[in-house]
Subunit: 145 residues, 2 copies
DNA sequence: ATCAATTTGTAACGTTATAACAATTACGAC
DNA sequence: GTCGTAATTGTTATAACGTTACAAATTGAT
């Protein structure tokens, strides 16, 4: 049996929108999609996003001001908080696909870099822009579809 | 002799504002500071920022939507384009100070992570949030000054 | 001088994010 | 049950960040 929440579960709706695609969505794109469900204000969306971020169910792509579902490194959702050291994203500049990766040695390089400046790291943002395999194969640097 | 430009050199004014501080400035903060010099429109500021970014004189901190002068890894300005693989920033969450670092092995980790996903990297964003040496020393996690 | 190309300025708009406060719901105490 | 309180959600407005479209000025070649 699935629970039927008394209150509207905005976070659940957003998670559902983000699941099943590697494309990031902005808060306002999500708002548009949730309008039919009765969500009309940015605040509502941002609050739900905040919760999803805190619980590690989604990630924010800083360079796009957009959000993706957490899918883990190999497509399996995992259970880390967002901003954890050692995770990163590739972002295709042509098709917008985002993939997540986790790399212990990347994490140690980041910690070393911080330590070199006597900096105490808490979270890190790693975003690699370029072309995904599919787009790189389609001929060099064409415009967006 | 210094050149006296016929046109106002907005980029130069911005570079001057950003030089001499490790604190990032947003485009609109810069606009405020340039108002006395006759700059009144965001467009003007963004165009100048674009040029400075392209020439590698400044960097954009994605997680702050703000800009800092390029100071190189050890405080010496250097000559790379922005977004180059292998450079990164530490961002103090308490005092906002930003420091730049360059790390060849970080770069190779990023390239390896991209390669693992058959991704063709073009540029990368590495931003470490936490506490700078000074703020970490002042007792744990106080509020901002 | 005149023209085209480039750069800069202006005005308006679009997008992203937050603040302040009101209304609703959940839930335990009584 | 109903009262009181805390937590959540909704509403409205506004702040912060960024772009578009087009007009005006400057440059430099003809």
């Amino acid at each position: 049996m699935t629970e039927k929440p008394k209150r509207r579960d905005t976070a659940g709706l957003i998670a559902a929108e983000l699941a099943g695609t590697a494309k990031p969505h902005t808060a306002y794109e999500l708002l548009e999609r949730l309008r039919p469900s009765g969500v009309f204000a940015p605040t509502t969306v941002y609050r739900a996003l905040e919760k999803l971020l805190a619980s590690g169910k989604i990630h924010r792509i800083e360079s796009l001001n957009a959000f993706v579902a957490c899918r883990g490194a190999e497509g399996a959702p995992h259970d880390h908080g967002h901003g954890e050291l050692g995770i990163g994203f590739t972002v295709c500049d042509r098709c917008a696909a985002v993939a997540e990766f986790e790399d212990a040695s990347l994490q140690s390089r980041i910690e070393a870099a911080a330590a070199a400046g006597a900096f105490v790291p808490r979270s890190s943002i790693v975003e690699i822009h370029g072309l995904c395999a599919a787009c790189a194969g389609e001929g060099p640097a064409a415009g967006r579809p």
